[in-house]
């Protein structure tokens, strides 16, 4: 079984580029050049240096002793939360801004939900001196004020998406419309492994540094480069794609993806796409998608703004259908509990998104000597209002 993208841009039955003709020249330009650009020595050197000196890579693979005692397994946390801007998102935005420069683009657009990808994009645009426009749902702008302020301080223009449900999906629509209107000078930095080919593959490659480092660190410490489990949360799925990437072809490594169940999978307030979705087209990609019987895209719900996306990256739809990864879910309550527990046992406040991955430790029945890596994709600073509000 093949888990990487094929030449036509598909993961099994999922992926492709279902885009209107207006976007074809831009997407083709990217498709024709991205592999050559990112595999060149100069690019690798420049990106490597930025990841190391600017973003703070490699991130620690931290052995969580007290968490391990509690769950009776060897639990390691991949500390993406320690990166500059507070999450794994910067791995991708640094890569893409370099690609954009190589393509001669001078204007950058992005979508954002909770604001993490928006901040990571605004950051690299400031670094490179490029114009930055971030689309953000009007509803999200209200509930994520600190990140809006960060983006503005970094020099980005934040434009409210006022269409549809005024959240992440609509911000993505607006970014795509912007790209249709500005096809020559603009690069669209998509924040997850979603969108038309080659985006899912390109973003996964930039995030694959996560699993590359996990392998390296385990090998040097334990002379065993493969963990028994890798656990990551999935909204669009970029941190999971990166954490799974180098383990996909080794079936001994059990991959676990945790979706947001919201108030319960069948409560009507959920973002568990694998359970609730059917094949369809969203943002230029064929994938599993939450929608009505008439094919209208529905609005997901999760306490974590970074996980409430009605679709999922096509690579994950493929991993789900083939059974290569196990897809589970955690509710708002379970995620909150896991976040409080990590704070108390390890002195780490995780992002609400990453807390969903941690929540699965309650259900994972690992053996005592098994190595479990949880991808701690982001830190919880941005979620303090929610944590304070829910603290009793």
């Amino acid at each position: 079984m093949r888990y990487q993208v094929n030449k036509k841009g598909y993961y099994g039955n999922f992926g492709g580029a279902f885009i209107p003709e207006m976007l074809v020249p831009n997407v083709e330009e990217l498709r024709n050049h991205y592999l050559k650009i990112i595999s060149s020595k100069g690019f690798q050197k420049e990106l490597g240096s930025l990841l190391r000196n600017y973003a703070g890579r490699p991130t620690p693979l931290y052995f969580a002793k007290r968490l391990s005692e509690r769950y009776k397994a060897k639990i390691f946390l991949k500390r993406e939360d320690l990166l500059h801007t507070g999450a794994h998102k910067i791995n991708n935005t640094l890569g893409q801004i370099l690609v954009a420069k190589k393509l001669g683009k001078t204007r950058i657009i992005a979508e954002t939900g909770a604001g993490q990808h928006g901040v990571a994009t605004a950051t690299v645009c400031a670094l490179m001196g490029l114009e930055c426009i971030v689309y953000m749902g009007e509803v999200d702008i209200e509930r994520q004020a600190p990140n809006v302020a960060r983006m503005k301080m970094l020099g980005a223009k934040v434009i409210p998406a006022k269409s549809g449900s005024r959240t992440l999906k609509d911000a993505t629509n607006e970014a795509i419309r912007d790209w249709i209107n500005n096809p020559v000078d603009t690069h669209y930095i998509i924040g997850s492994v979603v969108g038309p080919h080659p985006y899912p593959d390109m973003v996964a490659r930039f995030q694959s540094v996560i699993s590359k480092e996990i392998k390296k660190e385990l090998k040097s410490k334990f002379k065993k480069e493969n963990p028994d489990y890798v656990i990551a949360c999935v909204g669009g799925g970029s941190n999971a794609a990166g954490a799974f990437y180098h383990f996909l072809d080794n079936k001994k490594v059990k991959l676990i993806a945790v979706e947001a169940a919201g108030k319960g999978i069948h409560s009507g307030h959920s973002a568990a796409t694998m359970v609730l979705g059917k094949p369809g087209i969203i943002h230029g990609s064929k994938t599993l998608l939450m929608q009505t019987d008439d094919g209208q895209i529905t609005e997901p719900y999760s306490i974590s703004a970074g996980l409430d996306y009605p679709g999922v990256g096509p690579v994950h739809a493929h991993l789900f259908k083939t059974g290569r990864a196990k897809f589970v879910s955690a509710t708002d309550e379970e995620a909150l509990k896991a976040a409080y527990l990590l704070a108390k046992l390890e002195g780490i406040i995780p992002a609400l998104e990453s807390a969903h991955a941690l929540a699965y430790l309650e259900k994972l029945k690992a053996k005592k000597n098994e190595i479990v890596v949880v991808n701690l994709s982001g830190r919880g600073d941005k979620d303090m209002a929610t944590y304070i509000n829910k603290m009793e």
């Binding site: 492709g16 580029a17 279902f18 885009i19 209107p20 003709e21 207006m22 074809v24 020249p25 831009n26 269409s163 549809g164 999906k169 609509d170 629509n173 795509i176 419309r177 249709i180 209107n181 500005n182 096809p183 020559v184 059917k278 094949p279 369809g280 087209i281 969203i282 943002h283 230029g284 998608l289 929608q291 019987d293 008439d294 094919g295 209208q296 895209i297 529905t298």
Partner: protein
């Protein structure tokens, strides 16, 4: 012969009007269609509303949102076209369905084509159905039900791709007038004329209709100098949203 082919054979300066099914009211479809046919529209594009219309500007986004709130679905649209005995069924005015791929896929492509044929539809425009996927998966079904699939070109489309699209087209080519979503009110300027001329000089075998950003008589007549006709959408929708009669709009154009 497919009514689209007949139309392009017999007429120049073709006016095509787009409206969103289910807007402003769920049951507006028949009255709008009848009025369009009665007042001289040559071709009509019926929009299937979608929750996430990527290629559309604010006017059509809004009409789609209202239409969905009103309860419009593909099934209901076919029912309306089937049962309401709209005048256009007897006239030669070709009806085209325009929409996004996802609702059509959920309905089922063959089911969609079969029902479309039954409802008197002559062609289909699905902007997010890529040409290669159409050719490899859906062309036989379109042909079985005698539906023309309409492709788009834009100012950025390469000459090579335009040639390929021309080769694969058998209805007409939908020439997007500028790099924009629908509803840009920027008229026909020098830059667009240059692009229109460039396409005209390619001497394509397929008829060409210019759309996006055409909103009034001036824009329409300018577009007609370069192509077989033009398509008006957002401007018409804004007009009917104000409660103005359909024929008044058409009189302003032709």
């Amino acid at each position: 012969m497919n009514p689209i082919s007949t139309l392009f054979k017999e007429k120049k300066n073709i006016l095509s009007i787009y409206f969103t099914a289910g807007f402003p009211n769920l049951n507006s479809t028949k009255s709008i269609l009848d009025a369009l046919v009665g007042s001289g529209a040559d071709m009509i594009e019926i929009g299937i509303p979608f929750s996430d219309p990527l290629a559309d500007g604010p006017v059509i986004q809004h009409s789609s949102e209202v239409a969905l709130k009103n309860g419009m679905t593909i099934q209901l649209l076919f029912h309306q076209l089937d049962k309401l005995k709209v005048k256009s069924r007897k006239s030669k005015v070709p009806l085209i369905l325009m929409g996004y791929l996802n609702p059509v896929l959920q309905f089922g492509m063959e089911h969609f084509c079969r029902e479309a044929r039954k409802a008197g539809i002559s062609g289909v425009i699905l902007p997010d159905l890529p040409m290669d996927v159409y050719l490899s998966e859906y062309k036989p079904v379109f042909e079985k039900y005698k539906l023309k699939n309409i492709f788009l070109i834009t100012p950025q489309t390469s000459e090579k791709r335009i040639r390929e699209i021309d080769k694969r087209s058998d209805g007409f080519i939908y020439m997007v007038s500028s790099s924009s979503t629908t509803g840009a009110q920027n008229g026909v300027n020098k830059e667009k004329e240059k692009y229109f001329n460039r396409i005209r000089r390619m001497k394509l075998k397929s008829p060409v209709m210019i759309g996006f950003g055409i909103s009034d008589r001036t824009g329409f007549s300018k577009a007609c100098k370069f192509a077989n006709g033009a398509i008006i959408g957002s401007a018409f929708i804004s007009h009917i949203e104000k409660g103005e009669p359909v024929n008044k709009f058409i009189k302003q154009i032709i």
